[in-house]
């Protein structure tokens, strides 16, 4: 493996450039079938080579995976490819890394695993990508076709297991067609509403002979995507916006995936409409802008939740109105006429009735709306009200110097120590919410998290994927929790081996903190299985892996230690011992009224 690592080192600028040049050829080949377009490429001879060729044709530069019996033919074909394979420590990490690669780059991230346990270990990551509509292609080995159904060694019905959590999946049925199966799966992962796709690859199919060159990635004929919204509804929605007194924009993850952030910014600023984001929508609008009310929902800001509750026109773009955003349906934006822009017709009126359903690509529809809206709404009073809420429900927190370090302070220190384009990844729990609330996001594709699935352990492997998708001068910071970090920290071995410049800040309270917070609020403080009581010393553990370890116990350590860890060229881990009693507020309890968010425990 070390030989291969030496072949293309992603952190080495010169070689990295070379690799990008190399991949330009397959990129051009996406215009037409690859056959004959590349003089340096040997014709395919096997199913496995067709699989790899399909990836090359699609412009794939990186793949994340773990070897194993049934996937070996694919790896053997990959051995001769310019695609850089990152050998992960666990398949869950491979899926999360590919997912994050997809979020940051906008192109499907690719992960590989063998049959049976390899495939089932991918499941969490695939489910995560499905919930968050992240473009991802999973390739799994399978036992030879003649053994399928016999409970063979390492056999799992992978397409069966993953049907509910993939956008589409395929059991490859022959060596001649497997290349196109992969091309099509790649295209499906990317087109329309993105999502994870999977191709299950029986070993006889990948080992089998074929000279069939795969076509460029194309979606099947049955897959249709509507790009432009109905003009009549656009006109009606525009009129509604013009006449509204309390308008609000709600930007979801679809804004970022649809490359509509710029169009939304222009629209919001031109018409002076306050902007709320969902959690996956973080980064779609600069949070330091006057119009920004930041994130709404369970742990959204008080001002975003007040605005979403009191608006009379809610323009939701690329959001699926998830229950963590809406709280109780009955009290969600109860006076708002809803304009819902989404590329997936099934999201329209699924949870919240759309008065103006606009099906189409986010950027296209926002441009349609922009053309149709002639007069900005007269909402001076409303904007003043929103500003008032911003000061009434300030996110300012107490940080007494004689108490343990407050987590918010650490998040802010990390934000200050890094540039605006820094990518933040997280695990799931309290630390994730503090990372949402106290880091000021200004650019799309800089927030990488497990939103819908809420998969603890997402942080470190996603930082690995994000690192490889990011520009070399972009920093990657993983804000993690002690519980989340413990779930996938074996990924440190990958970060060290691949010499990836990432900084992991573990907000360590020796609790599954969010559960502890809920137990205090709803279970009479009975800390069942949430109190670890003991945690390894993460800085020393990092050193054992060959990463740089740091530890923070006091406020005095924060600024310098954070600066050192960010400056360190390679993987570093800061074990930050935070106040174990710190809680996340505001909070809307499950199914509660957004406008009645609690600011303290006794308000729950």
């Amino acid at each position: 493996m070390s030989e291969r690592a030496a072949k293309v080192t992603p952190t080495d600028e010169e070689q990295d450039d070379e690799q990008i040049t190399d991949s330009a050829a397959p990129d051009a080949a996406t215009e037409e079938p690859a056959a004959g377009t590349e003089t340096t490429t040997d014709p395919v001879t096997s199913g496995a080579e067709a699989v790899v060729r399909a990836l090359e044709n699609a412009g794939v530069e990186y793949a994340f995976g773990v070897q194993g019996g049934a996937i070996m033919p694919v790896y053997d074909a990959l051995y001769d490819s310019d695609i850089y394979h990152v050998t992960m420590a666990h398949e869950q990490g491979a899926a999360h890394a590919a997912d994050a690669y997809g979020i940051v780059s906008g192109e499907p991230g690719v992960c590989l695993a063998t049959s049976g346990p390899g495939a089932t270990n991918l499941v969490t990551g695939i489910a995560d990508a499905d919930m968050d509509s992240d473009p991802m292609l999973a390739l799994t080995g399978q036992v030879p076709t003649e053994f399928v159904g016999n409970d063979a060694f390492q056999e799992t019905d992978t397409t069966g297991v993953t049907t509910p959590i993939t956008k589409d999946n395929t059991f490859a049925s022959g060596s001649d067609t497997v290349g196109n199966d992969v091309s099509e799966a790649f295209a499906l992962a990317r087109e329309g509403r993105p999502g994870p796709t999977l191709v299950d690859l029986p070993k006889d199919v990948t080992n089998g002979e074929t000279d069939r060159e795969p076509d460029a990635p194309t979606v099947p004929d049955t897959y249709e995507v509507q790009e432009r919204a109905d003009e009549e509804i656009v006109a009606a929605a525009a009129e509604r916006i013009e006449n509204s007194e309390r308008p609000a924009l709600l930007l979801g993850g679809g804004v970022i995936k649809g490359e509509a952030s710029e169009a939304c910014r222009e629209f919001a600023i031109e018409h002076e409409i306050p902007v709320i984001t969902t959690m996956p929508g973080i980064g779609a609008f600069p949070e330091d802008h006057e119009l920004s009310l930041e994130m709404a929902g369970m742990h959204g800001t008080g001002y975003a939740n007040m605005a979403i509750t009191h608006c009379d026109t809610l323009i939701g773009i690329g959001t699926r109105f998830d229950d963590r955003l809406t709280g109780g349906i009955e009290t969600f934006a109860p006076e708002a006429e809803v304009i819902h822009v989404d590329i997936d017709p099934a999201e329209i009126s699924k949870n919240i009735h759309a008065d103006y359903p606009l099906i189409g690509d986010a950027e296209t529809v926002v441009e349609q709306l922009d053309e149709a809206v002639d007069d900005s709404p007269e909402a001076t009073k409303w904007r003043a009200q929103c500003q008032q809420w911003k000061s009434d429900y300030s996110m300012a927190y107490d940080a007494p110097k004689d108490k343990p370090v407050q987590p918010e302070f650490v998040v802010e220190a990390l934000d200050e120590a890094t540039d605006d384009d820094t990518i933040v990844t997280t695990g799931v729990g309290q630390h994730q919410m503090w990372a949402c609330q106290y880091w000021t996001y200004t650019e799309p594709r800089t927030w990488v998290s497990s939103h819908g699935l809420g998969a603890m352990g997402y942080g470190l492997p996603s930082a690995i994927g994000a690192r490889l998708a990011a520009d070399d001068d972009q920093d990657v910071v993983c804000i993690d929790g002690d519980g989340s970090f413990l779930m996938t920290m074996q990924g440190l071995s990958v970060a060290v081996r691949e010499d990836l410049d990432i900084t992991v800040a573990v907000l360590n309270n020796e609790y599954i903190g969010m559960v502890r917070q809920w137990q205090d609020a709803f279970f009479e403080g009975r800390h069942a299985a949430s109190d670890y009581g003991w945690m390894p010393e993460f800085d020393k553990l990092a050193e054992a892996f060959g990463a740089q370890g740091y530890r923070i116990d006091d406020y005095d350590d924060v600024a310098d230690t954070v600066a050192d860890a960010i400056a360190y060229d390679g993987p570093s881990v800061i074990d930050v011992h935070i106040d174990p009693d710190a809680n996340v507020y505001p909070m809307v309890p499950s199914g509660g009224d957004n406008g009645q968010f609690a600011l303290t425990e006794d308000q729950l």
Partner: protein
């Protein structure tokens, strides 16, 4: 004491007067209207390939759609199969069924059939053979026939709309029913109106759709 944030407490905040119902529709709190479930027939043209049936049935179970029957079989085109699904859902649910079905990649077209669509089901009804002549007479009344008889049993085949099958079963129950097997509803649109093509758009069926009691001229 766990800390929190500053700001006016919930009881001091203004609250809007409006509400939404459980389906996310804005309502006048005084006159809360809910959508009642209705039964309707949805026809889906799908790629004839392995796994489509489990894709569709899995979709119905994991999204908790209320399904009464699902039939599948080949069509005039070897590469395509037609699924006929009878669902019972309120209007927003029926809308979701159609949209979620359409999202499945091997699904080519989805359409809710009009109330006048041809809907048929086949039932095999096995009864005690105490009175073969009477059984044959009842079978004839429902346009059916006896397909098997033994000293103890007689099995009758009846075809028709769901209401007719149910009426037949009720009538046959006088003989003592041993076993019943029903195929579930299959359906086609009438006349030149295609049941499913890639461009077919779903038409909402009205309340009268399928719930009327069976009368002989239904056939």
């Amino acid at each position: 004491m766990k800390k929190g944030l500053e700001g006016p407490p919930p009881e001091d905040r203004p609250t809007p007067a409006g509400r939404r119902n459980k389906q996310g529709i804005r309502i006048d709190p005084e006159v809360e209207a809910t959508h009642e479930p209705r039964r309707t027939v949805i026809s889906a043209l799908v790629e004839h390939e392995p796994g489509v049936l489990s894709d569709v049935s899995g979709l119905f179970s994991r999204r908790q759609f209320n399904i009464e029957s699902l039939t599948v079989g080949p069509t005039e085109d070897d590469d395509r199969a037609r699924m006929t699904i009878v669902v019972e859902e309120p209007d927003p649910g029926i809308d979701q069924v159609k949209k979620q079905l359409r999202k499945l990649v091997p699904v080519i077209a989805v359409r809710e059939l009009e109330p006048d669509a041809m809907r048929r089901e086949l039932a095999l009804i096995k009864v005690d053979a105490a009175d073969p002549a009477q059984i044959a007479a009842v079978a004839e009344m429902y346009g059916g026939k006896t397909v098997d008889s033994s000293p103890q049993t007689a099995t009758v085949e009846v075809t028709g709309a769901r209401q007719k099958i149910e009426a037949a079963i009720e009538t046959f129950s006088q003989f003592g029913i041993r076993e019943i097997s029903r195929t579930g509803t299959t359906a086609l649109a009438r006349g030149t109106d295609p049941t499913g093509t890639a461009s077919a758009t779903a038409q909402p069926a009205d309340e009268a759709n399928h719930d009327e009691p069976y009368t002989a001229d239904d056939d």
